[in-house]
Amino acid sequence: MIRRIVTAIGLVAFWILAWDLSGRHRFILPAPWEVLQAMAANAGLLARHGAITLGEIVLGIVFGAGFGAASALGLVLWRPAARWLWPVFLASQALPVFAIAPLLVLWLGYGLASKVMMAGLIIFFPVASGFYDGLRRTDPDILDLARTMDASPWALIRHIRLPAALPGLASGLRIGVVVAPIGAVTGEWVGSGAGLGFLMLHANARMQIPLMFAALAILAAMTIGLFALADRILRRSLPWVRDTLDDVP
């Protein structure tokens, strides 16, 4: 906790220094207290738009992670699919989300669906890739042992491969949770009537830079909070995974 406070103080000090050196223009780089003032003055507005963005991110994580994990499992259950579908998954990640955002808005509308889709798309690949790698890297000696115990192919996946791949899935989820807001905000930026991205776009156009920074700060806090929550849940549910760096002070 103390480390985090020190880090925060250091960041704010750096911010004030940059603000001072850049000529103290509140329309270019506002001071921290100006951002706090904007945050207080627009609390209701920020809360309303923040809640919408948070909803998009969480739904995107649920759908993207669910679909990603299911795809990885599908590739293992049905081996020929891997050869056909893996390039498609790769291609989905090669397309810049910013390029397909206008298309998604065109197809799915200005509302929630296009943003959830964007966040889902961005989280899909790290989750699918992490889980799929985990499923493929099961210790062959354990599989041999299980075969001498007359395990069916499904039992091998259900009781050996799947649990052994959970740390890989967890790594994918940790990355996914952090990048999901990029998708949601990009979607809002391209076309929407609500959300923090929408708010930032308009604040920027009207030179309300302190408000824009306030929205950014809330987005960052949301991402950090989501990561901390996900990390905590994942550690709790995988107590057998040893963190060999955990003892570093």
Binding site: D144, T148, D150
Partner: protein, 297 residues
């Protein structure tokens, strides 16, 4: 037997059950027909006895090449029913491969693998590897019951698993995760898991090579006690382990590998680690390990 420094072995498998090592103390010269297997079974606690009767192992015409390397060329191998057969050989000679062939983990075209009545061995094998292969996400108890879990028949197996953990001295750790156990404890859990399968044929690939020498001697005594009455084929790098546990010891040497039986001393089984005859047999194994194939009879 007690060993200094380490843990002491459980004196019997459980207090109410008579010690049955004696029924297994057969000397290598005894013809297997003389042994009353059923009497042997009766002397054991019901949940530790092999069921059904232990099969012999019969491998014929095993030929296997790895690239230009001929591992085996028409090799034959036999293991007697209800006895411990040890296989030794330098690294890369094909010991583990032979064991995997017997286990059905490696299919070799043209080779004949079965029991002494030429029936297939599948379904009668318990496998124990060099690594303990405990699943880190399952408790000690659930690791012992892994086979039942994989076959979808977990219900009603807890009592037997706990009894086996008691036999290897780890009942108190049943609910712990494997990562909290020492290497020797983990191997004892692996032994309990092997026993839980209750298969009449046990295949062990360097089972105790990853623990310190004292713990290893203790584990050998434990294995001799609890696996007695089953057919056991084990691969080892340790001549002492082979002489202590083997009713019969085979050394593989040469390329392609040729099996050669080693004469064993007439000592009570499991043989004591410190007797001169056991030391002499170890020396014979060491010289056989290094002998080129041409010199073998």
């Amino acid at each position: 037997m007690r060993f200094p420094g380490g843990w002491s072995l459980p004196k019997g498998l459980s207090p109410e059950v008579p010690h049955h090592t004696k029924t297994c103390s057969l000397l290598p010269g005894d013809p297997v027909e003389n042994r009353d297997v059923n009497q042997n079974r009766a002397a054991m606690p019901a949940d530790l006895s092999p069921d059904p009767l232990p099969p012999g192992v019969r491998v014929r015409n095993l030929s296997l090449r790895l690239g230009n390397l001929a591992l085996f060329d028409g090799m034959d191998f036999d293991a007697e029913a209800g006895r411990f057969t040890g296989i030794l050989g330098v690294s890369g000679i094909g010991k583990s491969t032979l064991l995997r062939v017997i286990a059905g983990l490696e299919a070799v075209p043209g080779a004949e693998v079965g029991d002494d009545n030429r029936r297939p061995l599948s379904g009668r094998i318990a496998w124990m590897a060099q690594k303990d292969l405990l699943l880190p996400w399952l408790s000690v108890l659930d690791n012992v019951r892994l086979g039942a879990r994989l076959r979808g028949s977990l219900a009603g197996t807890e009592d037997r698993a706990l009894a086996l953990l008691r036999a290897v001295g780890l009942e108190a750790r049943a609910r712990d995760l494997p990562r909290t156990l020492s290497g020797g404890m983990r191997q004892r859990v692996a032994i309990a898991r092997t026993l839980m399968e209750n298969r009449p044929l046990v295949l062990m690939d360097e089972p105790f090579s990853a623990v310190d020498p004292l713990t290893r001697l203790g584990l050998q005594d434990l294995a001799a006690r609890v696996l007695c009455g089953r057919t056991v084929v084990f691969v080892t790098h340790d001549p002492l382990e082979a002489v202590r546990l083997g009713h019969r010891v085979i050394v593989l040497a040469g390329r392609p590998a040729v099996p050669r039986a080693i004469a064993l001393p007439d000592e009570a089984w499991p043989r004591p680690a410190d007797s001169p005859a056991v030391l002499a047999a170890q020396a014979a194994i060491l010289s056989a390990l290094g002998a080129p194939a041409e010199e073998q009879g």
